[in-house]
């Protein structure tokens, strides 16, 4: 090999440095552009409630059937999937797949047939692409998708299990926030045509229950920030992410040792599914399944106070469907 000239060596060195510096440079550019200015906030009253169609029930509850029938009955009662999914559109379904520890019987992860049926209904409504994803806090997503049984049902219905890519969490500004002014949110959520939020109703040590609003924490990074004040911060998050539809899986509920579960003695089979475009109303109704008042949940109370949705169940048009044969 020829001896490298000093000029050549310097050129290589410079080029190498430039390449190595590209990533941090771009990252700093991005930060400069997207970092929100800090200013005092007033209120978050501009968050709109999402339920619109006046003649349809505001919320539907289906009971006493197999999971697929429950999901169909509940979603059809509030206008069917085509109300939420545009023809040819891209849909993201967000179940709760919190860990890779236990299969669905333990009620720590959303019922696979509930998720599978939603995927199927999206395609029936003409969806072009249906992706299912969550970011477990314990174990790898690939394993959690398998253990929960969700991957099998989603793929059987033509949906796609997607492992969330860390580079897609982009720092997102939240206008007029109560406390969460910016947080890295999975960018696909904003690019998809519809987001369907499918939590399982279960116990949680701090917030009593984890339901629809808390399920959205699977779409962000730096989750521990939310723990400081579930009420305000989840209201900010749900107001930003705004799922088109929330379907709460209460086929089996976890009444203790949540959110991770693992003890069948803590599982109660309710065979119930709740559906509504209003995430606060869905969570409010789900609270009653545990014998709680909606206002017992901080995030429901703050969410309702700030116009994210409604928790006054007695004033809502709720359709109760009993499918018992």
């Amino acid at each position: 090999m020829q001896k490298m000239s000093r000029r050549k060596a310097l050129q290589y060195l410079l080029a190498g440095t430039a390449v190595a510096a590209t990533a941090p440079f771009l990252e700093s550019c991005r930060r400069a552009v997207t970092e929100p200015p800090t200013f005092p906030t007033t209120s978050a009253n501009n968050i709109e409630a999402t339920a619109t169609a006046a003649d349809l029930p505001y919320l539907a509850v289906a009971r006493n059937a197999e999971p697929d029938a429950l999901v169909r009955a509940a979603v059809d009662a509030i206008g069917g999937m085509s109300r939420f999914v545009p023809y040819g559109g891209w849909v993201i379904v967000k179940p709760n797949i919190c860990t890779s520890y236990y299969p669905y019987e333990y009620a720590a992860t959303t019922n696979p047939w509930v998720v599978g049926t939603l995927v199927k209904m999206c395609f029936e409504a003409g969806a072009g692409k249906v992706q299912v994803m969550d970011y477990p806090f314990g174990g790898s997503p690939e394993e959690a998708y398998q253990t929960s049984g969700i991957a099998e049902q989603v793929e059987a219905n033509g949906g796609e299990m997607v492992v969330m890519s860390s580079f897609k969490f982009k720092d997102t500004k939240i206008e007029n926030a109560l406390g969460l002014h910016n947080i890295p949110i999975y960018e696909d959520v904003f690019q998809a045509d519809a987001l369907i939020n499918v939590p399982i109703a279960k116990h949680h040590g701090m917030s009593w229950l984890t339901l629809g609003m808390k399920n959205l924490m699977g779409l962000i990074e730096n989750r521990e920030r939310i723990h400081r004040d579930f009420g305000k911060l989840l209201t900010d998050l749900a107001g930003k992410i705004k799922p088109q539809l929330t379907v709460i899986d209460a086929v089996r509920i976890l009444t203790n040792n949540g959110p991770t579960g693992g003890n069948l003695a803590d599982v109660t089979k309710l065979d119930t599914v709740i559906a509504s475009p209003d995430i606060v109303a869905s969570d409010s109704y789900a609270a009653t399944l545990f014998g709680l008042q909606p206002s017992d949940l901080d995030y429901v109370r703050v969410g309702a106070e700030n116009g994210l949705g409604r928790s006054d169940l007695e004033n809502l048009n709720i359709k109760e469907i009993d499918l018992v044969a």
């Binding site: 860990t99 520890y101 790898s140 394993e143 040590g205 701090m206």
Partner: protein
């Protein structure tokens, strides 16, 4: 460049350039070792295949059998290498060994730097090192296996190059994601690379610089002499060299030799001696066969024949062996003299599930396959945690990664059951240590803040962390309920997810301690 030698070979009158065959074989073996290493992360190949890099290495098999007083059938796999060596000499070193191949890639053969001569006597070093390794093994000490080339290979990839590449890849993704049209290709690339090659999200690894620096050192020694490591230091090369003494096929030079000296200058181990009629030492020859093709007189042959290798000036004599043995024994006595009780730092010395401290030290090859298999980064190589004799053995460091409740991969990939292959149900009951809350730092305890992350994360069916509810009156006279975490001692298995996720900055406010 490479082309100059290969061009010559096509013009050559000899039909087969064995040097080229060897280079192809080296490439294929290197690829195989790489694939096996990559697959260890997700256990995407059968565990028995993943054990191969450690099982096929005769030095590891021999020392581990001696130290642990066990002989497993799988260890006999290394007989394949021994058999090859008895037939053909140090073929392992020249054709198969990943460290040897990597050193060939960075041989500085073409650099203008003149290599200082190294006294022949230095070759003795590797034999003395081998002796020390064997004596230590006799006393249940395997610390010197950190110098085995297979463990060096795996350690360098797992503890150095792998994590560094992973970090670089993630950084590049994040940077490129800023370009709008890159999102599609990046997503495709991300799903192609993760989790097959890189973890879904980066795993924390301590001391990444160390294996890299040590490997760079091996490269730099190449500047002193080509394959310096293999000539003067490698304990495996030394063991195989001793076997090669009896090799059936050896390099021999016949009367056609024109004394041109070409073979001497090309030999990567510098063992072809003009003074001895261009003969070589079978213990040093790595059977690279470059001399075969270089010889203009076709005087070099690799043929079968009887006859032992003659004694060389650098072969260790009785005196050197005795001194080395004495030094090894003295060293062992010093290193193994330790306090019987755990010291302050030791209370955080946590071993992987199923592993017992003394047993682990007598079995562990220091190969680091378990670290590669651990999906969370809970397993880290010990540097100071486990003392001098425990360097590069696996320890659990919960602040960097938690022991995943649904995982028992470390036990499955351990080739010698230093981490026993526990069934998942048993592993989930194995007590690594116990969590203790530091009430002076815990957010609810110390600051009256609201935090239940440790309780939330606890994976046990009956949570080992329970919350005590206490009505409080805050400084501003507002009433509230404070949830205070407590550890239920008899439930905790010390998986450490609480310590890992504890939002208190720096040292966690809940930490796992060992119990004995």
């Amino acid at each position: 460049m490479k082309t100059s030698t290969s061009k010559k070979s096509t013009l050559s009158r000899k039909p087969l350039d064995w040097g080229r065959v060897r280079r192809v074989a080296q490439g294929l073996f290197l690829l195989t070792w790489l694939v096996l290493w990559v697959s260890t992360a997700g256990l995407s190949l059968d565990a028995r295949l993943l054990h191969l890099p450690a099982k096929i290495d005769p030095l590891l098999a021999l020392t581990q059998s001696i130290a642990s007083r066990t002989l497993t059938v799988e260890m006999l796999l290394s007989l394949v290498v021994i058999l090859i060596t008895i037939l053909f000499g140090r073929v392992w070193c020249g054709w198969i060994c990943p460290v040897g191949t990597t050193l060939d890639l960075f041989s500085f053969k073409r650099s203008k730097i003149t290599k200082p001569g190294v006294p022949e006597i230095w070759r003795m070093g590797k034999y003395l090192l081998l002796l020390a390794t064997l004596i230590a093994a006799l006393f249940g000490n395997l610390s010197l296996l950190v110098l085995d080339p297979m463990t060096i290979w795996i350690r360098t990839l797992t503890g150095g190059i792998g994590p560094a590449l992973s970090t670089a890849f993630t950084a590049a993704e994040k940077g490129l994601a800023y370009i709008p049209w890159m999102s599609g290709p990046l997503t495709w690339l991300d799903h192609a690379m993760r989790p097959a090659i890189f973890p879904t999200s980066d795993v924390d690894v301590r001391f990444v610089w160390l294996p890299v620096v040590l490997f760079l050192l091996l490269f730099l020694l190449n500047l002193v002499a080509e394959r310096f490591w293999c000539r003067y230091l490698c304990p495996l090369g030394s063991l195989l060299g001793l076997i090669s003494k009896f090799a059936v096929f050896k390099r021999r030079v016949n009367a056609d030799c024109v004394s041109c000296g070409k073979c001497t200058s090309i030999c990567p181990t510098g063992t072809i001696d003009a003074k001895r009629g261009y003969a070589s030492d079978a213990k040093e020859c790595t059977m690279c066969m470059d001399c075969l093709h270089t010889c203009p007189a076709a005087a070099v042959k690799f043929v079968a024949g009887a006859g032992l290798q003659e004694r060389m000036s650098y072969d260790p004599g009785r005196r050197q062996l005795l001194i080395t043995g004495a030094v090894a024994l003295a060293g062992l006595a010093v290193l193994e003299t330790k306090p019987d009780r755990l010291m302050i730092g030791d209370s955080h010395l946590l071993r992987p599930p199923g592993a017992l401290d003394d047993d682990l030290l007598e079995k562990c090859l220091r190969c680091g396959l378990c670290l590669r298999a651990c999906p969370t980064g809970a397993l880290q190589a010990s540097l100071a945690d486990a003392g001098v004799t425990g360097v590069f053995t696996p320890v659990v460091v919960p602040r960097l990664g938690y022991c995943l409740y649904s995982c028992n991969k470390c036990g499955q990939v351990c080739p010698v059951a230093a981490i026993p292959p526990l069934p998942l149900e048993d592993k989930q009951r194995w007590v690594i240590g116990n969590a203790f809350i530091d009430e002076n730092r815990c957010i609810p305890w110390a600051d009256g803040g609201s935090c239940i992350v440790c309780e939330e994360m606890c994976p046990l069916p009956e949570k080992a962390i329970v919350l005590e509810e206490r009505s409080i009156t805050r400084a501003d006279d507002s009433a509230g309920i404070l949830k205070l975490p407590h550890v239920v001692r008899e439930r905790c298995i010390g998986c450490g997810i609480c310590e890992y996720k504890c939002p208190r900055g720096g040292e966690a406010a809940i930490r796992v301690y060992r119990l004995d």
